[in-house]
């Protein structure tokens, strides 16, 4: 069984949350960085909504994953691309889904190898809970608690859709 989630509503909520955080912290010139692959699609959508003229960055965290010693290197690694200097910038780090928090830890480790940002705000479309590290999003489109056989699947970039899938039994 598959349920299509309402992408526009998710993005509305995420955008609203983000605007609130930016305003509260007095940040007027942030830069977006998406985590490949889904996070990049969400970053692109957010860039349009927030009216940011600067291009967004794309981060591939394969070289920073903490499961390299268990499963080896991800065979489909692509180069990270940050078309701006991150030194001293306010960064909005974007991913499609947050769960354990390990991806975000790896992404922050990678980000610091490019320079020292002024701040990092974390934005995720879906928060699935089940955290294994003390990392929380500053803004999320929706919080979902999945049943054991449920999973979410993001497709994109055009159109960007998200489904709640349930493997039948």
């Amino acid at each position: 069984m598959t349920v299509l989630l309402e992408m526009n509503e998710l993005l509305d909520t995420l955008e609203g949350g983000l605007r609130g955080v930016l305003e509260a912290r007095g940040i007027d010139n942030p830069v977006l960085i998406g985590i490949r692959t889904g996070g990049v699609w969400v970053a692109e959508a957010l860039g349009k909504r927030l009216g940011l003229s600067e291009p967004y960055g794309a981060l591939d965290i394969s070289f920073y994953r903490d499961d390299f010693s268990r499963i080896g290197l991800n065979p489909t690694v692509t180069p990270s691309s940050l078309p701006f200097d991150t030194e001293g910038r306010d960064i909005i780090l974007v991913d499609d889904v947050i769960m354990s928090g390990r991806t975000i830890r790896a992404a922050m480790n990678e980000l610091f190898d490019y320079g020292r940002p002024a701040s990092i705000i974390l934005a995720t479309l879906i928060d699935l809970g089940a955290r294994e590290l003390p990392i929380q999003p500053d803004a999320a489109g929706q919080t979902l608690a999945l049943a054991p056989r449920q999973r979410v699947k993001l497709r994109g970039p055009e159109p960007l859709t998200i489904e709640l899938q349930e493997s039948g039994q």
């Binding site: 070289f63 390299f68 010693s69 499963i71 080896g72 690694v77 180069p79 990270s80 490019y114």
Partner: protein, 339 residues
């Protein structure tokens, strides 16, 4: 492929097809070679960052085991390992234990006792890295940094990366390898890689005395006349004249060789106008190649060196990853057996 398959393919790959040693390009197929090139592309981007290091091999020990001297290859392997955050030990064996009478096996046992995770091996005997890979403790990865006249797979792959950067593809390319093919481990690996990746034609251009017997069986055409051989070329790869390996009179003189097979501006003008010029180094100016060509706009010789670091980072991290994944699977299997 069975568990007892003695082929290099079985030795180099885990059961699910991940790299675990890198000894030769023989038996490695296009998807894996493409994975290596793609991974290297990502490491090129790492080399452009403010901090040029990734944590993949943090806490691992890489031993550069060079039984034959080398500057470029050893230093790019060292830099590659350091950028992967590994600890690196450089051993110049020709001036060390073996000269005190220790056997290769004993040297290796001692190094393994220091908890090494990877050996990068260069040896004058063809097959030495293969021998080491067969006898080494499971979990330790072996990378061939050049063995005898047999293979130099990381050099061939950095050449492929350079070609793909400049040409964007392999299909339809005409590539010539010029000079001392007989003594060249690089040429063998290059011919294999170019054929597997789909180059249209691989041509060797050399005097008969500097070609191995049945060279066509490697998958190339042969041309003895350089002017004819340069026609329609997209890529020309010059080889170093390996004077130190030559026994007997294979050449009349260096000047004669340069006149016939050296790459001058004039000969280069016979190739396609966008033909790139490559050389594995070290170059002998005025012997294989004219200075103006080596330093000219069509030369990508220094790009090859930069790409060498990225390719070696790719191969080292993939082989180490394969070894670690295999170890995890074995552990899981043992736990299941106990349960």
């Amino acid at each position: 492929m069975t568990a007892n398959d003695p082929s290099p393919t079985h030795l180099q790959l885990t059961r699910d097809g991940q790299l675990r040693h890198f000894l030769t390009l023989d038996g490695l197929e296009r998807p894996l070679l493409t994975d290596i090139l793609d991974t290297a592309d990502s490491f090129i981007e790492v080399g452009e960052r403010s901090i040029k290091k990734v944590p993949l091999l943090r806490g691992r020990t890489v031993v550069n085991l060079f039984f034959e001297s080398s500057t470029r290859t050893r230093s790019t392997f060292e830099l590659a390992a350091k950028r992967l955050s590994a600890d690196v030990l450089n051993l110049d064996i020709s001036t060390s234990a073996t000269s005190k009478g220790e056997t290769l096996s004993d040297t290796l046992l001692n190094l393994e006792a220091m908890a090494s995770d990877m050996f990068v091996v260069r040896h004058s005997q063809s097959g030495a890295p293969h021998f080491i890979a067969e006898s080494v403790t499971p979990g330790v990865a072996i990378i061939n940094a050049g063995d005898g006249r047999h293979a130099h797979p990381t050099q061939a792959m950095l050449d492929m990366l350079t070609i793909r950067q400049r040409k964007g593809r392999f299909e339809g390319l005409k590539v010539a390898i010029v000079g001392d093919v007989l003594h060249s481990r690089v040429a063998r690996s290059q011919i294999r890689a170019l054929n597997e990746l789909g180059a249209e034609e691989v041509r060797v251009i050399a005097p008969g005395t500097l070609l191995p017997l049945d060279v066509e069986d490697l998958g190339c055409t042969v041309e003895y006349d350089m002017a004819r051989g340069m026609k329609d070329l997209d890529v020309v790869i010059m080889l170093r004249l390996q004077k130190e390996r030559m026994e007997g009179a294979l050449l009349p003189s260096e000047r004669e060789f340069y006149r016939l097979y050296g790459l001058s501006q004039e000969k280069l003008s016979l190739a396609r106008p966008d033909c790139i010029v490559m050389h594995p180094g070290p170059i002998n100016r005025g012997v294989e190649i004219e200075s103006a060509v080596a330093d000219g706009p069509q030369s990508v010789i220094l790009n090859q060196v930069t790409n060498g670091i990225a390719i070696r980072m790719a191969v080292m991290s993939m082989a180490m990853g394969g070894q670690m994944a295999e170890r995890q699977q074995k552990l899981a299997g043992q736990q299941e057996g106990r349960a």
